[in-house]
Amino acid sequence: MNVATGLLHTALLAGGVPALAALGEVMSERVGVINLGVEGLMALGAITAVVTVVDGANPYVGFLAAFALGLVVGMGFALITVQIRANQVLCGLALTLMGTGLAAAIGKPYAGTPLPAVFPPVVIPYLSRIPMLGEAVFSQNILVYVIYLVLPLGLHLLLFHTRHGLNLRAVGDNPAAADAAGIAVQRIRFCYVAVGAGFAAAAGAYLTLCFVPSWSDGVVAGRGWIAVALVIFAGFRPINAVLGALLFGATTALGFLGQARNWPIAPALLSMLPYLATLALLIVPAAASPRVRRLLAAPAALGLPYYRDER
């Protein structure tokens, strides 16, 4: 495997974590609910996957267990932010603190234990023999194909090419109008917030089942926040979000390459690259032109709970 192939391979693998979480966050924010609990959900998903797989489950079961846990926690979050209408920023931060703290406490006995089973690579016949690209793109584990191809395309079609997608975007942009048109605002919000949280927890499971196959305290390392940032960068569009995640993955891969090749830069400094790159992704397009800023604008009712009475 040459350098470029290796870089792309690692970039795809590393980018999968924020990509999956960002897709979930796109769902949540498109219906108008900002979920800042991604970091905590990811930690919970990661430790769920570790606990189940160390106890003998196969990776698929571990992954689904994490998704199910995220779904349940997400329902709780949706109940509080959508039905009770509590402040979304505070509840998200609370979820991050609770998830991170609980996962660290549960994970203590599992720290450093290598996982007995992880997702094996699925080599796609013929395509994997393409020079350069084949090894990097078509011999990944099954989740990589799902995260980069199936989910973003599916979500894009759902959001922008179906009646239901139009409805759910209306819920995020103008819930009062959507309500008047007979769309079940609260129900749609509840469902998409819960599923989005499930995605975030699944991203945590992907982290420990595919990328760093063991638990350690702080293993999530801000990837949840990076996912939230990527959604803003992507202008709340699923395909852009995944491409942004790939860029994030590339900076991670570059850091690994630097460490492997003994570049004269400290590993700690190379580890800063993904965060700085994400910051640049956030600020540069917005600074570029007001037109871009308008194009990438957030759903108009993002963060605002919907009160039917207040009209």
Partner: protein, 351 residues
């Protein structure tokens, strides 16, 4: 008699405070139930925490040492909220302040009376610098400071870790991963408690006075409440936003300096000890009240201290973070529920 539910735009003060108290109490009860479910006895643990915290002057000093950084990080977030900015990056500004202070402390020779003020200035500079990017991006490009300040936390933590284990590593030290002892020390005011605590209280009262009793403070609060109205009234919204955000960064930087010069005396990885994140809690618990910042800091210090005590009894210290989240969650719910009231519906006479 039938009742219907009515939502008030602003909750009555007494109800809001009651909801707060209930939220905190319920969070602690939930944590106790969880501990009992795990097989521990919450009553005996609570008893130990209370006796260990208030039992000796030494323990109280430990508590006071936790209060002063929490006041300052809490104040940092609280000040930001007044102008409508969420500073989730107090953790990073704390680290960069600590780093700048340690740099001066380690490499600038001189008497303590000269070095300490220099460290303070460096720390303020470090905090302000760490906030400069997010403040500019928010004020001029409209990028949410929530995410930008937070992402810089990780950068600052890595930078501190790198310096403490690399270029600034104590060459003759036995401990791994810390710098040499910084010679300049904050003088003590009471036992092991340094001057950071009274200074933090003074800074809080000063900031509260500025915000509540000056024209500048009034304009800041208008900008925070409704920036469109502020702009229409001719207030320099951008300038106010920038000033307050940078001030917020500087305050968190001071917290870092106090920790380095008063308590830890080294620069080491993890020196920020989640003080920045807990500062968010302090600010949220305080609501609009200045004295609330002090009360919130004491409460969070008690919680943090309980975690340390419990960790010697086999309870994982990370649980404190989870309980903190629980308090925040219940507080958010309580704040919303406080808006509602039941009003009796009068039967209309039949025509």
């Amino acid at each position: 008699m039938a009742y219907r539910i009515q939502r008030l735009p602003t909750p009555p003060r007494a109800i809001a405070l009651t909801a707060r108290a209930l939220a905190v109490g319920l969070a602690l009860i939930t944590a106790g139930v969880a501990l009992a479910w795990k097989g521990a006895s919450p009553w005996s643990l609570a008893h130990e925490v209370i006796t260990d915290t208030f039992g000796s002057a030494f323990a109280l000093e430990d508590l006071a040492l936790l209060v002063s950084p929490l006041i300052l990080t809490g104040l940092s977030v609280w000040v930001g909220l007044r102008v409508g900015a969420w500073n989730i990056g107090a953790e990073g500004q704390f680290n960069s302040g600590a780093l700048a202070a340690a740099g001066v402390g380690l490499f600038v020779p001189g008497p303590t009376a000269v070095v300490l003020p220099l460290m303070l200035i460096a720390a303020i500079g470090g905090g302000v610098l760490w906030m400069a990017g997010p403040a500019l991006a928010r004020a001029y490009v409209g990028v949410s400071e929530l995410i930008t300040t937070l992402l810089l936390n990780f950068v600052a933590a890595l930078l501190v870790y790198w310096l403490a284990t690399g270029p600034w590593l104590d060459p003759g030290g036995r401990a791994i991963g810390t710098t040499a002892r910084i010679p300049a020390e904050m003088p003590a005011v009471w036992g092991g408690v340094h001057w950071g605590l009274p200074l933090a209280v003074l800074l809080t009262l000063g900031a509260g006075t500025l915000l509540n009793y000056t024209r500048w403070g009034y304009e800041i609060r208008v900008c925070g409440a409704n920036s469109d109205a502020a702009r229409y009234a001719g207030m320099p919204v951008r300038r106010h936003l920038m000033t307050v955000m940078l001030l917020s960064g500087g305050l968190a930087g001071i917290a870092g300096m106090f920790e380095v010069a008063g308590t830890v005396h080294h620069l080491q990885g993890g020196i920020s000890n989640n003080f920045g994140y807990l500062g968010i809690m302090v600010a949220v618990l305080a609501r609009r009240s200045t004295l609330g910042v002090l009360a919130g800091a004491v409460f969070m210090a008690l919680l943090l201290n309980s975690g340390t005590i419990l960790s010697t009894r086999g309870v994982d210290v990370s649980i404190v973070l989870a309980v903190t989240g629980l308090v925040l969650l219940y507080t958010a719910i309580g704040d919303e529920v406080a808006h509602y009231r039941l009003v009796p519906t009068r039967e209309l006479p039949c025509p």
